[in-house]
Symmetry: C2
Subunit: 134 residues, 2 copies
Amino acid sequence: MLGRLNHVAIAAPDAVAAGRVYSEGAGAEVSAPVDLPEHGVRVVFVSLPNAKVELLEPLGAESPIAKFLVRNPQGGLHHVCYEVADLVAARDRLVAQGAVPVGDGTPKIGAHGKPVLFFKPTGFSGVLTELEQA
Amino acid sequence: MLGRLNHVAIAAPDAVAAGRVYSEGAGAEVSAPVDLPEHGVRVVFVSLPNAKVELLEPLGAESPIAKFLVRNPQGGLHHVCYEVADLVAARDRLVAQGAVPVGDGTPKIGAHGKPVLFFKPTGFSGVLTELEQA
């Protein structure tokens, strides 16, 4: 059963600069940047009452965000993350419906320290979709 | 002050087909399609515990979704909508920070029957951003 919308991830060339419209412009709580070198991103978190927006800046040469920014130089919506109670069961049900995991389908520990799995945009109307074990 | 993330809107060539991965694949509550000819869209709502995903299919020749699908034939993330308590005050503060409203900046009645205003992707890291009066 699909749970909460955990976050919307927006790629940006400069996460701190990208956060200003949310903090100074909209009065939202915006974090200091957090470097996650093992995930190849610098993240600025925008905290909303019911969910988060994550502003992702490439970190390192192997960043998964770098190619996205080549295609979208000013940034853009990168992925959406939903919570599930049982990630393996959710994966198996989605795969049975034709969804295609990124990689070999084995959950990995994500940026929040919880198991996650990405699904290719094909099957989700062109949207890269992340599931996170709640 | 930026409020709740109200919805993520995903454009799709066929909203009902796009909804199946969420209903049959992920067990989410997915609505029947709702035609909103005055907004040029057919919408399928995916209800999550804390927010909604709106699957938007073009309706009519003037649909704002049609051009997006020409560029993104399989669909894609179209916009993000946040709630604010005072839409005009939020607009004025964002404009003072350099954000640019779509149109003349006058709130219109949106698909949920509440005043809304869209801001151009420039200024929001390439993301079309909607504010809705809560």
